[in-house]
Subunit: 581 residues, 2 copies
């Protein structure tokens, strides 16, 4: 072993102890007669001192040559520091070095290895192994490990069994694109990497495993939006002999456990709202409820008052921005510009200031009197001092715009505190959603989700109105988990494939094994999957997942550090029975 | 929830309780006026009773229709059984059923769902979800989970951090074949699936993570020998600032912990033997030391005695089969036939019976007298009652043959008890091995293994004699883990690639990122990887890994249940910029 202690271990209780430490040179200060070196490892920083009077000359001279990120081993004595640093675990002591070994030299790193670095995203990715030395990244990876361990412990204690499902599976054209793997031994055939272990976990339920989980990599070959990765990690779960209520309780329990164990935060029972309510109240199926600003629909109180913009709109809807009646004209114009940006696409915004004296001053005073505007305040829940912001237009589009505005206002008001956690369940998702492009319905969750029994009759007449036993867990405006009660009989599954536009042959070729399995005694079952990358990032108080992934890929799906993907040689292509186009 | 208790939970303390159970019909016995049903779930079996006098007629009639593997829910009262079954946790009670719901019917399963099944390997694989209902498979998966949890707990408690490394990496022609994944976004380029996270774990050490582990899937597109899988699971570990001794201690500790926690077995400190000693003493670098029969080299005592077979042989080597002096001529001929089979390839076998009266009777009595043969006994460690078995020929080949014979004799003698555990370390592996086919040296472990410093000079002169800081953990004749101290400086790594026949360009193209990383302050580091599938199987007392994998592939790399790999459509090929040959 190259060390007797790590660089975070020593304190005043060790004074006069002979120790051996190893680590990286964080920085050194050469005062001529005295050299201080901060020695860093994963566990902390310990100050080394080389003293021209007390240190052997050869050692002292060698210490002068130490550069940033050199790897060294030192022997020495723990002594009390003259000027203590109360902000460091090791701040009371330093090591008077007697022996110094340079274990490895280092080139000057391309960016500073400090909490605040001067390195841009690209260079940090290329030298990710240096980026990982920085506390923000290192601590994110340690944090991720801690979360994963707690998840495993909690579920295992509840008799869940982690089962590894295969990575080399079968390609299914439904949904997102698969990554495929040509088979050498089976000419002309391909494996696919799983987008999720969905069918396997259902087969485990048919197989009687009863309670399954797995922390597992999944793969989607989609064009990468910001903060998405082609490979990502799920906490994948499934239970047999359960109803929706049981699943919500178990995984609400898991999330409360994590908040308590990891963050020390106790949260109340999660609110549950329906998808319809979420869309109407927040314009969004993953509402951030750390703050209010619920939507108030103003059609009744704002239409037919000579203001043609509202009169011709399908929906007039507003929110009350708390305490913003004091906004200047400039601040309000800025918000109007914001909603008119192409990314949001509103044609304009109406506002009404609910002054502290109880009067309301609006941008449409010529159409609305105080009584009208007090009704707006009532509907949007505005109080004196608030600013009412109103958008109008086609219902769905307007809700989406107001949802974006609501989040923007909350951000400006500092209401999205990453150390506040407001989880909830959104339930009763639609079973199907209409896809304009293909002109047919798609499964909103996936084709294995069961319709609510009372809605099955609607499949023939109004498929878009059929609700599913499907649910999402939402945390601070992010969907962190989602699942459903599954279909567990062949007839319903066949019916579902039919409604989704599969021919009988297609359904059999792709999912025949699952429908076969349903004939041999499939129990009622359901489950859910959490996105671990996102969950960990949110618990860690961060907006982006990238620092919680050791070796992420860029937006072109490249690993710029190892330079992958890359070309392969002709012999390999030959063996795989493929060629390039 | 479909149940108040599971099928393993109820006992005499629950008598008179109203309960709801759900599960599968294991079997039913219809005695006309009385029907008994064994209801099964993951947790156990509970006996249900339907009684024509006490049960509602409609329920009773429905009970008559229940077939094997039907999924049912029952309500009823826990009552005391008349004839108790002491072998079952629930054997004191039964449920007098008042309500019965058939949750799902079942076709007759293609094989019996019992501990001893009538299903062959192929049919069990096709209906793996039914096979998993059987206790031997179900319990193997639960056992695997338990082992994996203990591994994570042990390493985590020692400050190891589990870090997820990427699955979409870069193809490297070295070693086994990669599975590759065509990139849609990077035309003509391919990812590879990792054969191991080797370079990433080394980069994590360069990144200061200090102690890393991961339970991770790895992939090798090799022709599948019996009991190998194209995707397999490793417990992958790496540590910085350590020497070989530290690594051996940590992972010996892990293995002792598993044996104790999982099997309740305490083992002594593991023996450590060198590779050379293992080859000389057991003819094998993964010796089974649950039994003796160490090799005795007989050249000195058996050559130059007029027996030309021995005189012309490079090596004459024997073992003493304990207690086998009583073998009949037929039993011995059977062993001779066994070593002469083409799989073993010996041209013959000499034997000598060390009788209980102290005399020795050999198959070569005309060349050797009692004194000679007593010397054989001394060298092989034979005692009166033992049978000395001797092979001769070229050294390496003969050792391999005798190793196989040693294992066969041990099997016949019942010395390979799966509930006895004899772990050991084999150390000082050669760095390189000569490959006849390519006419050059290959890395025995992998190209990142460090040579022993004292042997580096031999690289130029006798590369085959250079020893590595490489070690295997062996358990009951299986290599269950292996690792090494790594190279951590660019110059040595470059030298190694040179000796392995890489051009400078090839080395840079494939592993440039690693050599770059070594320039920025790489610490000394090393590690090891366990094969989890094999480790779990051995701990579970089984010879084959297949039942410890939920959804294994067959010897052609196919998943016969889901029928993968399979063809993909032309549009997919088009998008991936490839076509079939």
């Amino acid at each position: 072993m190259y060390r007797s202690h790590n660089c975070g271990a020593l304190n005043a209780s060790h004074i006069a102890t002979e120790v051996t430490l190893a680590g990286w040179v964080q920085k050194s200060r050469d005062k001529g007669f005295m050299i201080w070196v901060d020695l860093r490892d994963r566990y902390g920083i310990t100050q080394l001192i080389f003293d021209s009077e007390r240190t052997d000359t050869a050692v002292f001279e060698m210490a002068k040559t130490l550069g940033r990120e050199f790897v060294i081993q030192v022997k020495g004595t723990v002594i009390e520091r003259e000027s203590k640093n109360k902000n460091m675990a090791t701040g009371d002591i330093e090591i008077l070095v007697s022996e110094l070994t340079i274990l490895n030299v280092a080139l000057t790193p391309p960016f500073t290895i400090e909490d605040e670095t001067d390195g841009g995203e690209d260079i940090r990715m290329k030298y990710r192994y240096l980026d990982i030395r920085r506390n923000p990244v290192k601590n994110s990876l340690l944090f991720r490990h801690k979360v994963a361990m707690e998840v495993r412990k909690y579920l295992s204690d509840l008799d869940f069994c982690e089962v590894e499902t295969p990575y080399l599976i079968k390609s299914t054209p439904e949904g997102a694109r698969d990554f495929v793997v040509p088979s050498r031994m089976n000419e002309g055939q391909f494996y696919a990497l799983p987008q999720s272990p969905q069918t396997f976990k259902q087969l485990l339920m048919v197989g009687g495993m009863d309670k399954y989980f797995q922390i597992v990599k999944c793969f989607r070959d989609e064009d990468l939006r910001a903060d998405r990765q082609p490979e990502f990690t799920q906490i994948d779960c499934e239970m047999a002999f359960v109803e929706q209520e049981d699943i919500l309780n178990v995984f609400e329990g898991l999330t409360r456990h994590l908040l308590k164990e990891i963050k020390g935060i106790e949260v109340d029972k999660f609110p549950r709202i329906t998808y319809d309510y979420a869309m109407k109240t927040y314009g969004n199926d993953k509402p951030d409820i750390r703050f209010g600003m619920e939507f108030g629909e103003l059609n009744e109180v704002a239409q037919h008052k000579e203001f043609s913009v509202f009169n011709t709109a399908e929906l007039v809807v507003g929110i009350a921005a708390p305490g913003c009646a004091s906004y200047t004209r400039k601040e309000i114009d800025n918000l109007i510009d914001w909603v008119k940006r192409p990314q949001i696409g509103a044609s304009g915004m109406v506002y009404a200031k609910y002054e502290l004296d109880g009067t309301i001053k609006s941008s449409v005073d010529k159409f609305y009197d105080q009584e009208d505007l007090l009704n707006w305040a009532k509907v949007t829940g505005a109080k004196p001092g608030d600013l009412i912001l109103v958008l109008s237009g086609p219902a769905h589009k307007t809700r989406t715009q107001l949802s974006a505005l609501r989040m923007e206002v909350a951000t400006r008001l500092g209401l999205r505190n990453p150390e506040v956690f407001a989880p909830l369940w959104v339930v009763d998702f639609p079973l199907l959603e209409f896809d304009e492009e293909s002109g047919r319905y798609h499964a909103m969750h996936h084709p294995f989700t069961s319709p609510k029994p009372e809605d099955i009759a609607l499949l023939e007449t109004e498929p878009g109105k059929v609700r599913a036993n499907a649910y999402d867990m939402v945390l601070n405006g992010n969907e962190i988990g989602g699942g459903s009660i599954r279909i567990h009989d062949k007839a319903t599954q066949q019916l579902m494939f039919k409604y989704l536009g599969f021919t009988e042959e297609e359904a059999k070729a792709q999912f025949g094994f699952l429908m076969d399995a349903f004939q041999f005694g499939a129990p009622p079952h359901g489950g859910l999957a959490f996105g671990l990358d996102r969950l960990v990032a949110i618990l860690g108080g961060q907006e982006t997942i990238r620092d919680f992934i050791a070796f992420p890929k860029n937006n072109s799906g490249r690993d710029v550090m190892i330079d992958a993907p890359s070309v392969i040689d002709d012999k390999q292509l030959e063996e795989l029975h493929i060629r390039l186009k």
